[in-house]
């Protein structure tokens, strides 16, 4: 498990580079080694990227498994951090989805009120006031000054 986690960045780098290499070979088609072709430079870059991936992989494996200091532990993301971050990301996706069938003003006000509520620590009346004022400012600033047509 630990080895898998340590080698993850290097592995992803190598897989991404291999996809790029494969795609550049597809572009080049018959003339594999013509530098003027569209796939030659990306191909070279893909090879460099593979080397970078291998270097990272080796470096990560070489690292001794040392006991993490308290500061490092604080730096690392915990499971609950990830949970919060991804649930919030999905919430943003829902907000963008809602823009296609709800008017901008309503969906944005709702989004702000619910997010500030979910993130905790702010009094509910401050929340409502801040949300409504922000949406109003954003709406007028962007529609008047930047001529943006809202969805």
């Amino acid at each position: 498990m630990l080895t898998l986690r340590r080698t993850l960045p290097g592995m992803v780098m190598i897989i991404v580079s291999l996809v790029i290499l494969y795609q550049s070979l597809l572009i080049q088609g018959t003339e594999q080694l013509n530098p003027a072709g569209g796939g030659f430079l990306p191909g070279i870059i893909a090879i460099v990227l593979i080397i970078c991936g291998i270097v990272t992989l080796i470096n990560d494996l070489k690292k001794q498994v040392v006991e993490k200091t308290d500061e490092q532990k604080e730096q690392a993301f915990s499971k609950s951090d990830y949970f919060l971050i991804f649930s919030y990301f999905i919430f943003i996706v829902f907000y963008v989805l809602s823009l296609s069938f709800l008017p901008f003003l309503i969906s944005t006000t709702l989004f702000l009120i619910i997010s500030i509520f979910l993130l905790k620590g702010i009094k509910w009346y401050t929340n409502v006031i801040v949300s409504i004022v922000t949406v109003t400012i954003i709406y007028f600033l962007f529609s008047q000054l930047f001529n943006i047509v809202f969805p």
Binding site: M13, T56, I85
Partner: protein, 504 residues
């Protein structure tokens, strides 16, 4: 004297004057709020001012650029959280000064010397850019390829994290920049058969995702970490003699800042750190040891990072190569308005250049005025709760990415880039090389292939060109040295030479 007239245009044109002022003020606040970055703000403005004329749009963006770099030090001094990477060095002595009750003095000194550094930067820009441009006309395709590669290499090396990860970011960025139709051959590249990808990936969308959304996600876990501001009453104005004492130091670090900024890929962050280091070495009797609130320790990085802005604009305007992430966005802005950044820009639209110089001077003047006037608000701004700030930034980022083409598809792309950027940050990959790669990718690709074709497609001719042409030769040597300096052999050689020097 025609250029003097053009410099003065923004001073007398009401629209430009107000826009520079508004931009600078907004920039100071954006910079002062930890979590809002200048790059993100300028990227947003580019998408929002899409329908504007070019000069007003550039004036607003320049104001935000100068104001933002300056504003970052407010949070660094008051709550010890640098508002932007460029003000990391300022917090080293700025916050200790505040703890000793000198917050007012620190704010005053940084304001004055940001102004001084910014002006030196503009002066160097105005005098050096025309010279560089006239020289750059001789650059061939091969040289552009080399220069762009050098920029990416430097970013990859200087960014935090390991070199391999930095280079990987840069390379992946180039490939993302190449997605879409091949401008020379006409075929499709990396589109995976999707028609939508034929137009390529819009780099502003990528920027908003990589710098905006990813930052929001990354800061989610810091909701509870809130900076506690220091006690601070009002700004302290020291006697003139006290300020003049630091003038020589500020001049030296300003020049250092301009030079660092002018290097493709090295921006205000590195300029500030180098300036701080220089001040530490050259100040003989600091009022306090460095790191405990030395006055020179806040002056040097602020003068340096402000001066770096002028420096970063030199390669952008003369060669079309961005000095940092923000100037990369400026290049995008010029492209959108139908201009080709590069040596011909100065020849064809010289007035644009001088108006930009004028706007920069104006932005510095407003920076001084606002910086000295609105001090008391800073303390409130730097402590805005993240719970309120992050959702608001999320909304603005969503609107910004939507406003480009009025399409929700773009917003989903932006969210995707946000997720990529988040994972990159978690695993210590730096985002800046990726962005520079996306922007420079097409230039690297076309100039490489044109250079090969202009060598009549013969490999030996093409390769000898790198060492026979003087410009190419210099660039090749610099690139070779940059790569070499990362190898273990270089470190061994350095170790052998350096101890001897220290002994003598």
């Amino acid at each position: 004297m025609e250029f003097l007239q053009q410099i003065l245009i923004p001073f007398f044109d009401w629209e430009l004057l107000i826009l520079v002022a508004a931009g600078t003020l907004a920039g100071i606040f954006i910079g002062a709020i930890p979590g809002l970055s200048v790059t993100m703000a300028v990227a947003l403005l580019l998408s929002l001012t899409y329908s504007w004329d070019m000069l007003p749009a550039l004036a607003l963006m320049l104001g935000v650029y100068y104001g933002g770099v300056y504003g970052g030090s407010r949070a660094a001094i008051l709550v010890n959280i640098p508002g932007s990477p460029a003000s990391v060095a300022t917090s080293l002595d700025g916050f200790p000064m505040s703890q000793k009750g000198e917050a007012g003095l620190a704010l005053f000194l940084t304001t004055i010397f940001s102004f001084v550094g910014g002006l030196v930067g503009v002066l160097v820009l105005a005098s050096a850019a025309p010279v560089v441009a006239s020289f750059a006309v001789q650059f061939a395709n091969r040289d552009y390829f080399l220069l762009a590669m050098l920029g990416l290499l430097l970013v990859g090396n200087l960014s935090n994290g390991t070199v391999a990860k930095g280079l990987f970011s840069a390379g992946a960025g180039i490939v993302i920049g190449l997605i879409g139709m091949d401008p020379i051959g006409g075929g499709s590249r990396f589109t995976f058969g999707s028609l939508q990808l034929m137009n390529g990936v819009d780099f502003i969308i990528a920027l908003l995702g990589l710098f905006g959304m990813s930052e929001i996600l990354y800061q989610m876990r810091e909701l509870k970490r809130q900076g506690k501001p220091v006690e601070f009453k009002k700004m302290i104005i020291p006697p003139l003699r006290f300020i003049l004492k630091f003038l020589p130091l500020s001049m030296r670090v300003s020049i250092l800042g301009v030079l660092t900024g002018a290097l493709p890929g090295a921006g205000g962050e590195i300029a500030a750190l180098l300036s701080y280091d220089h001040a530490k070495r050259s100040t003989k009797n600091p009022n306090r040891p460095f790191g405990e609130g030395a006055h020179a320790g806040v002056i040097a990085p602020e003068a340096g990072n402000s001066a770096a802005i002028g420096g970063a604009m030199i390669p952008m305007l003369t060669l079309g190569i961005p000095g940092d992430a923000v100037t990369a966005i400026f290049i995008g802005a010029l492209f959108i308005h139908g201009l080709q950044p590069g040596p011909m820009l100065m020849a064809q639209s010289g007035d644009l250049f001088w108006v930009m110089v004028g706007s920069s001077i104006l932005a510095n003047i407003f920076l001084l005025i606002f910086g000295l006037m609105v001090v008391s608000i800073f303390i409130r701004i730097v402590t805005v709760p993240k719970q309120i700030l992050l959702p608001i930034i999320a909304v603005i980022t969503v609107i910004g990415s939507y406003a480009m083409n009025y399409s929700l598809t773009d917003v989903y792309w932006m969210l995707g880039f946000g997720l990529i950027g988040f994972f990159m940050k978690v695993h210590n990959f730096s985002v800046a090389p990726l962005v520079l790669g996306i922007i420079l990718g097409p230039l690297i690709d076309t100039s490489f292939r044109r250079a090969y074709m202009s060598a009549n497609g013969s490999m030996p001719d093409f390769l000898t060109g790198f060492v026979t042409n003087p410009i190419s030769l210099i660039l090749t040597i610099v690139i070779a040295f940059t790569i070499f300096s990362q190898t273990p052999i270089y470190k061994k050689v350095k170790q052998k030479i350096l101890p001897k020097k220290q002994q003598t």
